[in-house]
């Protein structure tokens, strides 16, 4: 078991190294001349040359990669061409904001998705099931930026009950930096007014982000549960007179949840992806908005930095989902085998 965990961890580290190569290729090799790319056509050749030397672009590719990776490991991701600050400092500032929004979104998604899935299973074939199905389709097919626009229209102009821009109202002072997540920081300081305001700012973007994933999770949960209802073990348990409610919530849910978990981890990853647009629309100062502006301005150091951080987060996400699956599925936990 221990060896297995180590092996798995090793493979994740391998993926991380591979990812660094991929990012290196995207940012430094594809553009041909990253320095010119970054500075644009209107800058003199000398300035570009100076940047080339500064970014080690005058050295052979493997050396460049080595130097870049060496820096990255020491948390030196170079300076952002846009903010003129070290990229790592920018990330430190913006990452907590994104984490805050994504975490809330993930919680909404998991709870909502599983709940709706259970409800749809309970009323299979009834109108509620049909309604949930239609809503799921709606959720799945609408890109999150459309939700974001709709919410801004709805709450920004028609019924302005929730804020549609920024992290915190201007009248409230930003909290002292502890974790960087405003809600948590306010809570730790006992500032409930601040917490409530920060929380209200999170609601719309996180809902816009999670609707697609929630719909996906609901459909998947329902699909697995309905498929399992005809399994012999459920028939057998029903034949022992176990009440339908308990059967549904315990004996049917647990085995049906296992495949959903892995997919949900992927959905959370794509929430990060969608955050690139949604944060921008809600003018929410998070890592994704930072990443997007880096991309639009060809800020190569910032792009590589953001992507590496996201890659690291996704790998942690994968490890977490592996752990949850192992916790739910004794076959994985005790044998290391599972459904494979």
């Amino acid at each position: 078991m221990f060896v297995k965990v180590l092996k798995k961890l090793g493979s994740y580290i391998l993926v991380l190294i591979g990812l660094s190569i991929l990012v290196f290729i995207i940012a430094r090799v594809i553009p041909g001349d990253p320095a010119r790319q970054a500075l644009g056509p209107n800058v003199s050749e000398e300035t570009v040359q100076a940047l080339r030397v500064k970014m080690n672009l005058d050295k052979p590719l493997p050396v460049q990669y080595y130097l870049w990776l060496k820096g990255a490991v020491q948390l030196d991701l170079g300076a952002s061409l846009l903010t003129r600050r070290p990229v790592i400092q920018d990330i430190r500032q913006y990452l907590p904001a994104t984490l805050e929004i994504v975490l809330l979104s993930a919680v909404f998604m998991a709870l909502g998705g599983i709940l709706l899935g259970i409800l749809a299973t309970k009323y299979t074939g009834k109108w509620l099931d049909g309604l949930i199905r239609v809503l799921s389709y709606l959720g799945i097919v609408s890109p999150s930026f459309v939700w974001a626009i709709l919410f801004m229209l709805l709450f920004g102009y028609l019924i302005p009950i929730l804020p549609t821009t920024g992290r915190i109202a201007q009248s409230i002072a930003e909290p002292q930096h502890i974790t960087g997540m405003f809600t948590v920081d306010y809570l730790m300081r006992g500032n409930f007014v601040g917490f409530w305001d920060a929380f209200r700012h999170l609601i719309l973007p996180s809902i816009a982000l999670m609707l697609g994933g929630m719909a996906q999770a609901a459909r998947l949960t329902r699909g697995n549960m309905v498929e399992n209802t005809m399994k012999d073990y459920i028939l057998a348990e029903r034949a022992y007179g176990i009440p339908e409610k308990r059967l549904l919530h315990r004996y049917l849910l647990k085995p049906s949840l296992i495949p959903t978990i892995t997919v949900m981890a992927m959905d959370i990853a794509s929430i990060f992806g969608n955050a690139f647009l949604v944060e921008n629309l809600f003018n929410y100062p998070g890592l994704s908005r930072y990443g997007l502006s880096a991309m639009l301005n060809k800020d190569i150091n910032a792009i590589s930095g953001v992507v590496m951080v996201l890659g690291l987060i996704f790998i942690i996400l994968n490890i977490l989902s592996d752990l949850i699956v192992a916790w739910l599925d004794p076959r994985v936990r005790l044998m290391g085998g599972g459904e494979e």
Binding site: M230, Y233, L235, A236, E237, G241, D329, P330, R331, L334
Partner: protein, 333 residues
């Protein structure tokens, strides 16, 4: 039917029809099944793949698939009409009346719960006195496992199904089904996927447990040999009908229905002598089954009437009944 209920039978099925709604149309599986089980009796239902054995017994517990319909027929459990039962009565029927052992022990235990969790749940729902108490559950479960000659029952309770071999799992299922007293146990091909030496042990444990608890048993099997060695009476089933029933000794002394006769000839014997050519043709399509006797298209003795009319269940004396016009008599079974 009412007088029959008074005779104190455990289960009585009268003229049961079960259909399944599918995209291709109505699949008419059961075509008037009659079944009668007395207290303490061990009955075997023998038939080939797809003849409706499983559907018959699942209907007793009302665990048929959602797309099934019962257009005709009645099922009585100790005089109560099962098909008209309310939720509470169904719970009682399942909790303490009838239990069922499924064919594939790898599929019939929940893979993500321990044996103990599953057994305790079954006991809790049995309506048994003090069944909600943890120690009572533990005690009953351990006793039940010990009765099925399982080594180290306490450890078994903490194991997950995948940690046990097929034979062990089937013994767990037997133990679970008889952890609390039952009027009847249904075993649906409990040994089909097991080796003969394991089959032998499991069948012995099953009959032993059923006898010691004074339960009735319905054993579904495709093997006449298994039926002969475990049951008091045998029903031979073909394409949704009971075609012949008799006490086990009587049936092996004399088979009447052409299907039973042909089936018996196909079985390879340990004493040699080869096997017959088999039965030509295959089981009818349930979407559009033959109008008369469902065996007529494959029957060497069939005449025009067999294709038109469905035969009754004719008593030949001593409870030996045959559904074939060759043995037509007054009075049904």
């Amino acid at each position: 039917m009412s007088e029959k209920n008074a005779t104190g039978s455990v289960v009585d099925i009268c003229d049961l029809h079960v259909y399944y709604k599918t995209y291709a149309g109505m699949v008419k599986v059961l075509n008037g099944v009659n079944l009668h089980v007395s207290p303490g009796e061990k009955v075997a239902i023998v038939g080939e793949t797809g003849c409706g054995k499983t559907t018959t017994v699942k209907s007793i517990l009302r665990i048929l698939a959602n797309n099934s319909v019962v257009p005709e027929g009645e099922i009585f459990f100790k005089g109560q009409d099962v098909l008209k039962m309310k939720t509470a009565q169904v719970k009682q029927l399942r909790g303490s009346g009838v239990s069922m052992i499924f064919q594939d022990p790898t599929m019939s235990l929940n893979p993500v719960f321990t044996i103990g969790e599953q057994m305790f749940e079954a006991i809790r729902n049995s309506g048994q006195k003090d069944a909600n108490k943890k120690d009572v559950q533990q005690q009953l479960a351990v006793q039940a496992l010990r009765d099925t000659s399982m080594p180290d029952p306490e450890r078994i309770l903490l194991s997950y199904p995948f940690q046990l071999s097929g034979g062990m799992r089937q013994r767990v299922c037997i133990a679970m089904s008889l952890a609390t007293p039952r009027d009847m146990v249904i075993a649906d091909e409990p040994t089909t996927n097991l080796d003969v030496t394991i089959q032998d042990q499991v069948l012995r444990i099953l009959t032993d447990r059923v006898e010691s608890k004074h339960s009735s048993l319905i054993l579904i099997t495709h093997s006449l040999g298994v039926a002969r060695e475990t049951s008091d009476r045998i029903y031979v089933m073909y394409a949704g009908n009971m075609v012949e029933t008799a006490s086990t000794t009587e049936l092996f002394r004399q088979q009447l229905h052409p299907y039973t006769v042909a089936l018996m000839r196909c079985i390879p014997r340990l004493s040699g002598g080869g096997v017959a050519e088999g039965i030509s043709g295959r089981i009818p399509n349930y979407l559009d089954p033959p109008a008369g006797c469902r065996f007529a298209p494959r029957c060497p003795m069939a005449n025009k009437r067999c294709f038109r009319e469905k035969p009754g269940f004719y008593d030949q004396g001593d409870g030996h009944c045959v559904a074939c016009f060759l043995y037509e008599k007054e009075g049904g079974c």
